[in-house]
């Protein structure tokens, strides 16, 4: 029965590697269609209401159990790798030493209930934190990818000194303190749990895992122990990273089994089977343990109330210093702030794919529930290219709607605000015009001021909030022109073409 395990492994690699590389890829070399693999993740598929994908995943689970967890979910595979690596640090005899543990039902069902209820109430506060795919995305984008970029930049500097121009420096854009800390904490929790206890995280914290656990009680195929051939040698139990096989009782807790098939491959007696559930009558399934429902309910409601209270307490505008207070700028295609904040799970895919490096995970700009969701953050030469639609193309959750280049050019993410009293032309009476220079729509244009000088003026209707002006304004630290985010992205007016010059020039003019 080793083949099943090999197939599972192969499929897992086929899913995991492209996803991993896609998140790390900072050069834009990998094709964008790889994001299709991410649309196959449970939470993104649900968020973007992809009936086909959701249907497929349901059927998959109803047929084979939690195959999603062991094949499609990158965080799951990541944990398998951690558990696998941990073996290298263990003594020979103790390498496969998992043992049966009881599930932590209160915790897992509360977390699932909390996630569902809060989401149904219109906040993705909990989903953002717990979606396994998004946690994986954050770990790679914020912890692993920067290392690759550092290495790249080191080598490119070295090569360029030698006159070799093959690779180029890339700026680090994903680092923001609060999201970084959160991601690091999650990374440590997941890594430690999997290092010592296999799939403990999936079976205790992960709402997707818990949900699929419920579903797999109905799955067509399931792992079971054939009592007639079992010698209670516990080889299967020791290999079970879900710690769901009780070899003494000869039972398998199918809610926690992730269909990894490791147990199948170790049983020499053929006592572990991946068998058809509805074929023959078998004795009653192990005691269902959801009986603590009252306690669970109390706990859950308490947590929900707490979460709602924090969600209410947040304000979107935030305090900030008076000089530069502003609403956050959502990525193009976000539409309404509410829509965006609900749908985005902060997976950081757009952040890692943004070729302009203008997207960053938010700290508290969107409030507590929006931590880690992307926002535009301008700095010198870092702004949003008006012809680029990559973030809206790759977004797997539908938080960003796919835009065409034409649509993007008139998608108003925010509006530039000009503060004359800070402008160089006003304070120094000297020409500058950097903002207008960088404005792709000429919403910021120069008008006559005095003594032959020109000063910027903003036509709000034309402004798309790309931040070209803010990124280049030489007045620092608080620019004389900055972009205020829109809560609702509207259509900007198309800039009018200049009048054509038709006359033929025949003279030099000097």
């Amino acid at each position: 029965m080793k083949t099943l395990k090999h197939i599972r492994r192969l499929l897992a690699i086929l899913f995991f590697l492209p996803i991993l590389l896609f998140f790390i890829d900072f050069t834009g070399l990998l094709p964008l269609f790889l994001h299709k693999l991410l649309q196959m993740q449970w939470i993104p598929a649900l968020m973007s209401v992809q009936v086909g994908v959701v249907g497929f995943l349901l059927v998959l689970s109803l047929l084979f159990g939690r195959l999603y967890c062991s094949v499609i979910c990158p965080l799951g595979v990541f944990q398998d790798i951690a558990a696998w690596k941990s073996r290298w640090f263990k003594k020979k005899g103790r390498r496969y030493r998992f043992d049966y543990r009881k599930p932590n039902n209160i915790l897992r069902y509360s977390l699932l209930a909390l996630t569902v209820i809060v989401f149904l109430l219109g906040s993705s506060a909990v989903v953002v934190w717990l979606d396994p795919y998004s946690i994986f995305g954050r770990i790679i984008t914020q912890l692993l990818r920067p290392l690759f970029i550092w290495a790249n930049n080191g080598f490119s500097a070295l090569f360029i000194k030698k006159g070799i121009y093959v690779i180029y420096g890339v700026s680090q854009n994903a680092f923001v303190v609060i999201p970084f800390i959160i991601t690091s904490v999650f990374f440590v929790i997941v890594a430690v749990m999997s290092w010592f206890r296999g799939r403990l995280y999936c079976n205790t914290v992960c709402p997707v895992g818990t949900f699929l656990g419920l579903l797999s009680k109905l799955s067509l195929f399931k792992i079971e122990i054939e009592k007639s051939s079992c010698t209670q040698c516990s080889a299967c139990e020791k290999r079970c990273k879900s710690q769901c096989i009780d070899s003494m009782a000869m039972t398998v807790d199918e809610t926690r089994c992730v269909s990894c098939f490791n147990c199948l491959s170790v049983c020499k007696k053929g006592g572990v089977k991946y068998a058809f559930r509805y074929g023959k009558k078998q004795e009653a399934a192990p005691v269902s343990e959801i009986n603590s429902s009252r306690r669970t309910f109390m706990l859950t409601s308490g947590a929900v109330v707490a979460a709602l209270a924090t969600a209410k307490a947040e304000t979107l505008t935030g305090k900030k210093d008076e000089i530069l207070s502003r609403k956050p700028i959502m990525p193009p295609g976000a539409g309404h702030l509410e829509h965006f904040n609900t749908k985005c799970t902060g997976c950081q895919l757009c952040v890692s794919k943004c070729p302009m490096h203008v997207l960053k995970p938010a700290a508290l700009e969107y409030g507590i529930s929006g931590i880690m969701q992307p926002r535009l953050a301008f700095s010198t030469h870092v702004y949003c290219n008006q012809d680029c639609t990559i973030c809206s193309e790759v977004c797997p959750t539908g938080a960003l709607t796919k835009l065409t280049v034409e649509e993007k050019r008139v998608t108003q993410m925010g509006i530039a605000r000009f503060r004359k009293h800070k402008c160089v032309v006003y304070t120094d009476e000297k020409d500058c015009g950097a903002c207008s220079e960088h404005c792709p729509t000429q919403a910021v244009h120069m008008i006559p001021y005095k003594n032959g000088l020109t000063i910027p003026q903003v036509t709000p209707d034309l402004c798309i909030g790309c931040g070209g002006c803010e990124s280049i304004c030489p007045v620092r630290p608080y620019q004389a022109i900055y972009v205020e985010g829109n809560s609702v992205q509207v259509k900007a007016k198309k800039p009018k073409d200049a009048q054509k010059f038709e006359k033929k020039i025949d003279n030099f003019g000097f």
């Binding site: 180029y168 160089v424 950097a434 220079e437 729509t441 020039i505």
Partner: protein, 310 residues
Amino acid sequence: MKRRDFFKTAALAGIATLFSPKSLANVVTENELTVASSPDLVAVMGGEPEVMLIRALKELGGIQKFVKKGQKVVIKPNIGWDRTPQMAANTNPQLVGALVKQCLAAGAKQVLVFDHTCDNWQKCYEASGIEAAVKAAGGKIIPGNDESMYREADLPHGVNLKKIKVHEAILDCDVWFNVPVLKHHGGPKMSISMKNMMGIVWDRGYWHRNDLHQCIADCATFHKKPVLNIVDAYRAMKSNGPQGKSESDAVMMKSLLVSHDFVAVDTAAIKMFNQIRETNLADVRYVALAEQLKVGTQHLEKLNVKRIKL
């Protein structure tokens, strides 16, 4: 030669040197006139970029006069924007390609092309068509987006700028060509040869904060001057500069201006541009400021200007 004639000639020569040292040769040896006096400024009109470039170079004594065998050459076009050639936001790619070819034909060891772009450099290099043109011509296009590629240089004659960080390609080459495009500019009014120098330095924000015109003039005093400023006016941007909104900002002028003199070539270009959009030379303050710093002269009438219509 008679004694009297000798004095006459010497006196004339002396006076002549006051105005233009180049005309000295003409006075002393009249029969060598055509050979010795290469023009200070060549203006060509009515041809394709490559044709006009070759013609202008011929007037100036050929590319061999500027590029010697085995030299490392740098070409600095304007590649500032993620815009297509039709919009005239960047230097004409055919012109750049033709210049690369000329340099290689003259025996250059390598020809590097770069700009410190305003938009994302990879997008600019691609959209401008310059990357493709340079590669096709056998040159090498290199980035200018990283501070590590810039080294500090002194500007002893600068007023506001005493130090700048210059791209090492410029610092390390034997000769370099400044190849701007003629454009309207919302800030300093016009972008031509001196404004194009902003693309060889790293920190331009400082310029905008500290009297842009003075800084542009200061940078023109940089000791390593381009051997030639080749102003692309095949298409000029008449409005919404420096990046433009659409192709209607561009005007077909089919012209090329070439000079070693920053001030002269910018003056000529502004006068030419004045025909499509009224522009007061005095408003482009950096031209006069550069003249004060002895970078060059605005007085075209005192120069040997060659005007060629094809």
